[in-house]
Assembly symmetry: C2
Homo-oligomer: 296 residues x 2
């Protein structure tokens, strides 16, 4: 399998209230993912709270990951930043630390134009000199990649994959066909939005960029394998067990739910970065019940 | 007039490619605004590119402003940041530098919940200890303030104003009546979106938070005065002269257009922070023509 194939697990990044990474807790989370034999780690993705972390803390997180699981499975590092020079610096940091790949979201404040996103990706891809995935995450960046822009970026030597949001009406087949028709044969098309990703893999998607695999790697990998094997009956059964959790992801945002799951798994004491608030006791009870339904 | 009444001019913040503020150029821009007798300055707003600047550079910009025009007219400082602790630090910095008021946008990556925005505003208002305006800018923050949340925030001792986006259908009268019914009598309701703000003032809005006034303060103040005086005929005539510029603001985003205007006014050589790209020659020619129509 290539770097951007299969199940990529996106861990949370535990920090203290001041935004300093708790590398012991992060190492515990990364070790569980490695031991489950998930195909890759997506460090410092949206779930990893990269947007809330300083360059120095992001460097510490990457060093922790490479020191803990480097060489055991590929580590893909999110290097999104509002400024192009900052994203370039983060890409160089990741390369210097030994990361295997990069993930780049067009973080924005002023909404970006297509030409700006293109130039930004060219600059960061050149700085990083690592295989890179386009992080198409309109919910967080407010930029939706036109297919023509994905096709144009896929011509860059280091841009080898895209992480897509779930398509309207879950029409993976049409979208995959359209993207594949416009990109090189080796270009990998994957999805995020955990509740739709078994279907994405069954439809021929290359990658499941998974939030939940960051904390439930064994259970998620079982669902990913059934889907990659084309076993839609088994995938449907396994996915049904996740349904209560998917509902909570949609209701509260997966970012908030993950901090609760980490505590329920006794991995430490966790809180999201303010202004994101910890979920209340009622939500925690519902998350606990959803995990019990998964027999975790 | 109170701090948040009348025409508030939002200057760009000139920087070099590395994001260091050019305080000489900023002082030139601020002096023009002061000399035009605009009612206040909105430093480090969206137009001021606050999201692209480090804490240190934002401090330098505030120091420059207070040293150049402090005491001559109120300086309101944007203190938005993704992390609550960062926004609190920026609010303390602004207060320490002598700023007169604050403007706070709920900057987000992970979309925020109402409770989170409320707690964020409580924390920053307490840290800043200055009169503060709610910066309701869904286009940049992806958070739209429900009226009930504005009303709740308006109960906080330091939250005394709101900067609203233009309402659907330009129905200022209904929106103003609804907000006024839910907030203290002293609470100020202003608008941004320059093309609609003469109408906002004519309809009884308290404040025009103006991008263009950052570079064309004399011309904009004439329009603001006609509107504040209720002279709809004169306001309509003056606004019509701005129409080509408003069209360019809508087409390219006012942020990009302002850097061109600053160069056309011979205030220096300016470029927006990458990934925002400078506009091309065709756009520049159209901006030049729009300025000529204003007899600038």
């Amino acid at each position: 399998m290539s770097l951007f194939d299969g199940l990529s697990a996106f861990p949370i990044t535990p920090t203290d209230a001041a935004g300093r990474v708790d590398t012991d807790a992060l190492a515990r989370i990364l070790t569980r993912i490695r031991d489950a034999k998930v195909h890759s780690i997506g460090l410092l993705g949206s779930t990893g709270g990269y947007a809330f972390l300083s360059r120095e803390e992001r460097r510490r997180a990457v060093d922790c990951a490479m020191g803990t699981v480097g060489g055991d499975l590929p580590v893909i590092v999110g290097v999104g930043a509002l400024r192009t020079d900052e994203a370039q610096a983060l890409a160089r940091d990741a390369k210097a630390a030994g990361a295997n790949g990069l993930l780049l979201a067009p973080v924005s404040y002023t909404p970006l134009r297509d030409e700006e996103v293109y130039a930004h990706f060219v600059a960061v891809a050149e700085a990083g000199q690592l295989p890179m995935a386009i992080y198409n995450n309109p919910g967080a960046t407010r930029f939706t990649f036109p297919r023509a822009l994905i096709a144009r970026l896929a011509q860059l030597p280091n841009v080898v994959a895209v992480k897509m949001p779930l398509p309207d009406g879950d029409d993976f087949a049409s979208e995959l066909a359209a993207i594949r028709a416009a990109t090189p044969a080796s270009f990998k098309v994957g999805y995020s939005g955990d509740w739709g990703c078994a279907a994405a893999l069954l439809a021929g998607g290359d990658t499941w960029y998974s939030v939940i695999a960051g904390l439930l790697p064994v259970e998620t990998l079982a669902l990913a394998h059934a889907s990659l094997d084309g076993d839609s009956v088994k995938a449907g059964q396994l996915n049904a067990a996740f349904a209560p959790l998917w509902a909570l992801f949609k209701e509260f945002g997966s970012f908030r739910v993950m901090f609760v799951i980490a505590e329920l798994l006794d991995l430490g004491t966790f809180a999201p970065p303010l202004p994101i608030l910890p979920l209340d006791d009622d939500a925690r009870a519902r998350i606990k019940a959803a995990l019990e339904g998964l027999q975790v």
